[in-house]
Amino acid sequence: MPAAPFELTLDDLDSMAIGAWILGTGGGGDPYFSYLEAKQHLADGKRARIIDPLSLADDAHIACVGQMGAPIVKQERLIDGPVIASTVTMMEDYLDKKFEAVMLWEIGGNNGFQAVLTGMLLDIPIVDCDAMGRAFPQADMTTFSICELPAYPWTMVDLRRNKMIFAEAEDWSWMEKMTRKACTVIGSSAATCKSPRTGAEVKSSTCLHTVSQALRTGRAVKEARRAHTDPVAAVVKSEKGCVLFRGKIGDVMRRTTEGWLRGTIIIDGLDSDQGKHMELAFQNEFAVAWQDGEVIATVPDLICLMDTASGEAIGTETARYGQRVTVIALPAPAILTSERGLKKVGPRAFGYDLEFKSVFPQARGAEVSR
């Protein structure tokens, strides 16, 4: 039975901002700005209606929206809901067909909110699922790509209202390459409406109920804060994850290249990790964690950097020297750890010559049904 539809309250928006930022694994951008905008829309009487993907008709016509680019750019240029919503109306005009609902491209970080803003502004329901189950830096690192669904067409709008249609692409890798070039030209930040999906595709080829997961994660943090218990432990418990490392950030190196933010963070161990060091490599999101030279965790397991005291997620663009942090891992959705999934989102897809070995022994690598 599909879950009943529900509307996000003001408190839900806050929980979602906290949870989505954690699921962003360092990327996807701080949800704060879009949370702030969503709050304004809610106050203006607009509604964020969440529906269960399992309730969709097989032939339903579903939009999928997301921002692409370097998170650091969003810290300065911020994001405007009307721009992301305009990618959907542009797609409707192009295909001459109205959308029934909008789904999330990625739940992680600010991108989790883009479908919420779009749903509120265009008054269409928001589907409780996404194409990553976390955040990833590239379009070919999605469940759509893993399931080999058509990669086109895309619409892209920038803040100057430069508009582009990517009518056709050989595959997701080509769509990624073309859109990335365009994104870099317009300032490493672009609003996009991805290739439309049918209800059947949404049900079979997405990470289901990830909006609910973000809400649950955010609520766990808030409840722990209220009870003065460890919010990091609360997230680990709620999402069946584990703590990898505790320490203080000793160095941060960042470079914005080809529309991504890349770099490394060095953490000097504290408490039981005293004397040890962890290195995190990132391409927008955290990709690999080494402890004293040994690989501890890799994509697609979720590697999350959190403020030790508050349980707030720390992004790759906001991490800075001296912060007290805890690194945790959360299990990736099974679709990502499948054999086909690992080809797209395993460590080799990020340029590391490493086998994926999950932090979680129970990860089964179940094959995807189509």
């Binding site: 704060y32 700005f33 702030l36 905008e37 304004q40 370097a70 650091i72 750019v73 810290q75 300065e76 240029r77 911020l78 994001i79 405007d80 809901g81 009307p82 803040l159 100057r160 209202r161 300032g187 490493s188 009870a227 003065h228 218990t229 160095d251 941060v252 190196m253 960042r254 470079r255 914005t256 403020d307 030790t308 005291a309 508050s310 707030e312 720390i314 663009e317 906001t318 800075r320 020297y321 001296g322 912060q323 007290r324």
Partner: protein, 512 residues
Amino acid sequence: MMRIGIDVGGTNTDAVIISDDAVLHAVKSPTTADVMGGILAALEKLLAEAGVAADQIGALMIGTTHFTNAVVQRREVSRAAAVRIGLPAAATLPPFVDWPEDLRALVRGPVHMLRGGYEVDGRPLVPFDRVGMRAAARAIAETGVDAVGVSCVFSPLNPDLEKEAGEILREECPGIAITLSHELGRIGLLARENVTLMNASLVMMARKTIAAFGEAMQRTGLTAPLFITQNDGTVVASDEAAEFPVRSFASGPTNSLRGAAFLSGLQDAMVVDVGGTTADIGNLVRGFPREANNVVHVGGVRTLFRMPDLLSIGLGGGTHCDPDNPQSIGPRSVGFRLPQLARVFGGPDLTTTDIAVAAGLIEIGDRARVADLPKAYVEAALQRMRDMLADAIDQMKTVAAGVPLVAVGGGAFLIPDHLPGVSEVIRVPHASVANAVGAAIAQVSGEVDQIFTDMDRATAMEAAQSRAKANAVRAGALESSVQLVEMEDLPLAYLPGNSLRVRARVVGEVRM
């Protein structure tokens, strides 16, 4: 050489002399409306009672809660115009968007959003609307606001447009106080802009206040350099401090935390500092204030400050009590007028100090003047204060177990011996002047913010660090004590060669 530390609070001005790492003498004197009178009185009393000559003093360090009180109490803040260069970006989130409504109503002046700004690689976002900027400056001049804050998309990467806007404002709005966002913050437009606007709204008051500090010093015959303490427990020269009051925002509480560590000898504890206007609660971790890691809210405004994680509540020795309702305490305070306005001193206002006198917690003023307060009212008001403190302490705790609490500040008598969640309330000598002690032991910092070209990252970072260290030593730091506290690098892709902007900040003990 000896050092004098002064804390100018809303109610009292405290002064201490520190000699050989010990408190030689301490005095307390009421803060006056002109600020200057109170400092002058405190300094004269301090030197006379301690028998120390003015020329034996090597440095004077002043910390003040003046600026933070202005924001917490929503008073003495100027209306500030906002200029943001960055359209078409961020049109739905204008300046002041996430401010609490009451503060926004006081501070928000004319808001001008203009086309311009930069991309992450330094290219222009869109051409800067210079005509619009000139028109905005003229419009601001006509409204007569005396402060303006300017922000620009990616100004930490390239401050040129903010500087240009500043020039235009200087031409069109003579005498206006201008704060440019790149001088106060890093990447993160909204938080940087918030800090900028808050600074703008406080500059006029800060200039007046710091000029008064200097005058008091002069009249006492002190010729030592005057330093103002900042949020991180370090000091800067007073003229620089006047232009950036937000950098001194949390210096009062920082000083009290550092002072509490110095006086109690405790390295890990909670500290509550009860002044005349607020109670500030923080945590000591290994002798230093626990810093807020990420987002710091000041007076309800979101910033990216590096400052101690503190909770301020409107409960001090001068806080108003409603005679008809014991549940209604604060946040307004009689502040420095406590000796005139409080009932026990013959005034008309009922304050928390009056309640404490009525309850026998402290003996000051004329107890007969509060004898008419019903016992039930006094009990209820005390319980309300206990509840306010317990709630605030609970919010600041990071562990569920009971923790030791060091009670400092002139209003420490308001802290009961037993509080929920507290293992022990610790009282120390000179507790009432802890923040003056913290000011006197403040550290010296050194900073560089420089572009290095054709140098690998490690070499550039090392060069920045050693230059920051040299700056700190030049400013009076003991070389062996200097430590790195902040380090940040920004690659500048738009400049030729391999250019890197590096910011390094170090702190060290004052060399004696």
